[in-house]
């Protein structure tokens, strides 16, 4: 029983991480038809930004208490800024060429991890998390690491915030309408490009937060982390149905749980394969993903 509880909590924590990347990816894709290959790089930027601040380079920030919150905020802000710059400088100039937008983000996705590894070295760096989050707590007989709870809480908060934003605000309405039919929104005289930048900023913030919390989860940051998580985020986006935030949330939970349970009950490492097999099986039954949205 305690094993199942621990596996469930770990799977949910991993799923939370996937959701933080996949939600932005899914919105950007739904709105702009752009598969953002630089999204993993945004996560890495957030992770390194938080690591940099928490290591005592930012006045007031540190590895404990309010200092750590400040470090996470700093990392998230840097990631958001990077996302806005990415949209304005790289993606927007190719507005009418979606295929080339994807290719340009591929280039950024190659360059940023290389640059990070050039500055801070290719090896994993220890992540200075607060002591309060490095312990465990008892749940139904299992000793669950506290940071899993933080990840799950952050993902739930982001999900709620996104649903409120998309469902209750005017900007959210434009984004939702743009995901449904970009041509119609443009025809109504609304500048979709502003929504693009907004969605990039939101996606970048979520991914960078994911990077900061990923540092807690893995206990370290390294330049390749973002890219390897990105691939599972892709699987989540396809499984959940493109452009659907709720679909991404459901799929993140499923993928995270399947991965953890398969890793534990079969040979280690088969969890990653199980996820891909699950994806293949789903596509054979429902080519449009869980929520039935087609690419």
């Amino acid at each position: 029983m305690s094993t199942i509880v621990l596996l469930t909590m770990t799977g949910l924590g991993l799923g939370a991480l996937y959701f933080l990347i996949a939600s932005g990816l899914s919105l950007i894709f739904g709105l702009m038809d752009v598969l953002n290959f630089a999204h993993g790089a945004l996560l890495s930027i957030g992770a390194y930004g938080t690591w940099w601040a928490a290591s005592g380079n930012l006045p007031g920030a540190g590895s404990g208490g309010a200092g750590f919150v400040l470090a996470v905020l700093f990392g998230t802000a840097v990631g958001t800024l990077a996302a806005v710059v990415l949209e304005l400088a790289v993606v927007r100039p190719l507005y009418t060429r979606p295929r080339e937008q994807v290719l340009a983000t591929v280039g950024v996705g190659l360059a940023v991890p290389a640059l990070l590894s050039g500055i801070w070295g290719p090896d994993a760096l220890t992540f200075p998390g607060p002591r309060a989050l490095s312990g465990t707590f008892g749940l139904l007989g299992a000793q669950v690491p506290v940071n899993r709870l933080v990840l799950i809480a952050a993902a739930v908060l982001v999900l709620l915030a996104l649903r409120l934003f998309l469902g209750r605000t005017r900007h959210g309405l434009v984004v939702r309408a743009g995901v449904e039919d970009r041509a119609m929104v443009t025809a109504l005289g609304i500048d979709v490009r502003r929504a693009f930048t907004l969605v990039f900023a939101i996606g970048g913030a979520a991914a960078a937060l994911g990077g900061a919390l990923g540092g807690l989860y893995f206990g370290s940051v390294d330049p390749r982390q973002g890219t390897s998580l990105l691939i599972f985020a892709f699987v989540v986006v396809v499984t959940g149905g493109m452009g659907s935030v709720t679909g991404a949330a459901v799929a993140s939970v499923v993928i995270g749980l399947v991965q953890q349970f398969a890793n534990y009950y079969t040979a280690a490492g088969l969890g990653d394969l199980a996820v891909v097999v699950l994806l293949a099986a789903l596509l054979l039954v429902r080519p449009s993903g869980l929520t039935g949205r087609l690419a």
Partner: protein, 377 residues
């Protein structure tokens, strides 16, 4: 090879052909350039010509031939990959899988079953093709970017499988060297680099021939239609699925064959060839050279591979180590430079290197306004 005759056919109604005199003769000579280039490439191992800056030693030295052979191999691989991207409009992120399958499967048949090389090669190729049939038929159920993501997921699964080293057959991180005693003796050892170079050249010529032939076939016309507008092809009463699968399997077969050549050239299978970075580098080659053009992907592949090697040397050189940190850090990362160059090519050079001559010659009035307006929306 058929390159010369094809060129002739292709440039038949060339407006540049003057009725008589020197320009006409020059144009006629010009259209034979692929044959001339091929002849030059065939005799290259006999040359002792030094190309300072371009190559470390003379052309005929084993080191230079190895680099040239790698360039030709990747030129061919990019040409095969463009069958999907540039000809059919399928953005696959999993091409590395079929390349690695050709290399690893052949190596496995040699190492584990101890089969003779020819049989192992055929079986390895068949394995790559079978894999392309199975995974292609699943991933083509999704269209557009979804297809890209699914192919990426499959390739990632393959990469993880190779890295986990199941039963010790893939060698994990280290990869596995091919057994030298089972390979044809003419293809092993540094003194036979010229033979390996010719194998690479033959693979390039074969790939160019197959791609040109396939693109000109009736199936190739349908691919073009699918790339332009898949719905219209459907309305014409054709099922795009079968045609897309044909392109996918053909490209997968060419990649598996390339994996085989790579196995010979490097004397083993390395896990780097299974990663998504490897597919992305193919993508960079194709876009750099010019997607959907005859020579573009090949040129991009050759240029990228050469630059990759030389950038690696540059990164490790003393000149870079002496630079201030602001310049040294980015310059010491070849992937950073390649990424930046790639973004620049996508922005500034639509159509890649292959479109560059026509863009330069028509600079006063850019054709169809596809470039200028779109850059500043």
């Amino acid at each position: 090879m058929s390159t010369a005759t094809e060129t002739q056919r292709h440039t038949g109604p060339a407006p540049a052909a003057a009725p008589s005199g020197a320009p006409g003769a020059a144009a006629r000579l010009l259209r034979w350039w692929p044959a001339a280039a091929l002849a030059l490439l065939i005799v290259a191992p006999y040359s002792a010509l030094p190309l300072p800056g371009l190559l470390d030693g003379p052309v005929g030295s084993p080191g230079s031939l190895q680099l040239l052979a790698t360039c030709l191999l990747f030129g061919a691989l990019a040409t095969g990959y463009d069958l999907l991207l540039g000809r059919t409009g399928l953005l696959s992120f999993g091409h590395a899988l079929y390349f690695a399958a050709g290399s690893y499967a052949t190596n496995m048949f040699l190492l584990e079953a101890g089969l003779p090389f020819a049989l192992s090669a055929v079986l390895g190729l068949c394995f790559g093709i079978a894999l392309a049939v199975v995974l292609g038929s699943v991933s083509l159920r999704v269209t557009g970017i979804g297809f890209s993501m699914v192919t990426l997921a499959f390739a990632q699964a393959g990469s993880l499988l190779v890295a986990r080293d199941p039963g010790g057959i893939t060698g994990g991180e280290e990869g596995r060297a091919a057994p030298a005693d089972l390979l044809p003796s003419a293809l092993v050892g540094i003194e036979h680099t010229a033979n390996l170079y010719w194998v690479s050249l033959a693979y390039l010529v074969l790939t160019l021939g197959v791609v040109h032939w396939a693109v000109r076939s009736p199936t190739g016309r349908v691919w073009e239609g699918i790339k332009e507008n898949e719905r219209r092809v459907e309305v014409l009463g054709l099922r795009p699925y079968g045609f897309k699968l044909t392109a996918f399997v053909l490209a997968g077969a060419l990649a598996a064959l390339g994996g085989l050549v790579h196995l010979l050239l490097t004397g083993g299978s390395t896990p780097q060839t299974t990663t998504s970075d490897f597919t992305l580098s193919l993508l960079v080659m194709v876009v750099l050279g010019g997607s959907g053009t005859r020579w573009g992907p090949m040129a991009g592949g050759i240029l990228y591979t050469w630059a990759d090697h030389r950038l690696g040397d540059l990164a490790g050189s003393g000149a870079v180590a002496d630079l201030p940190a602001v310049l040294r850090v980015p310059l010491s990362q070849p992937l950073f430079l390649l990424g930046v160059v790639f973004v620049a090519v996508v922005h500034l050079l639509p159509g890649g290197l292959a479109r560059l001559p026509s863009r330069l010659s028509s600079r006063p009035a850019p054709p169809r306004g596809t470039t200028k307006e779109n850059r500043r929306p």
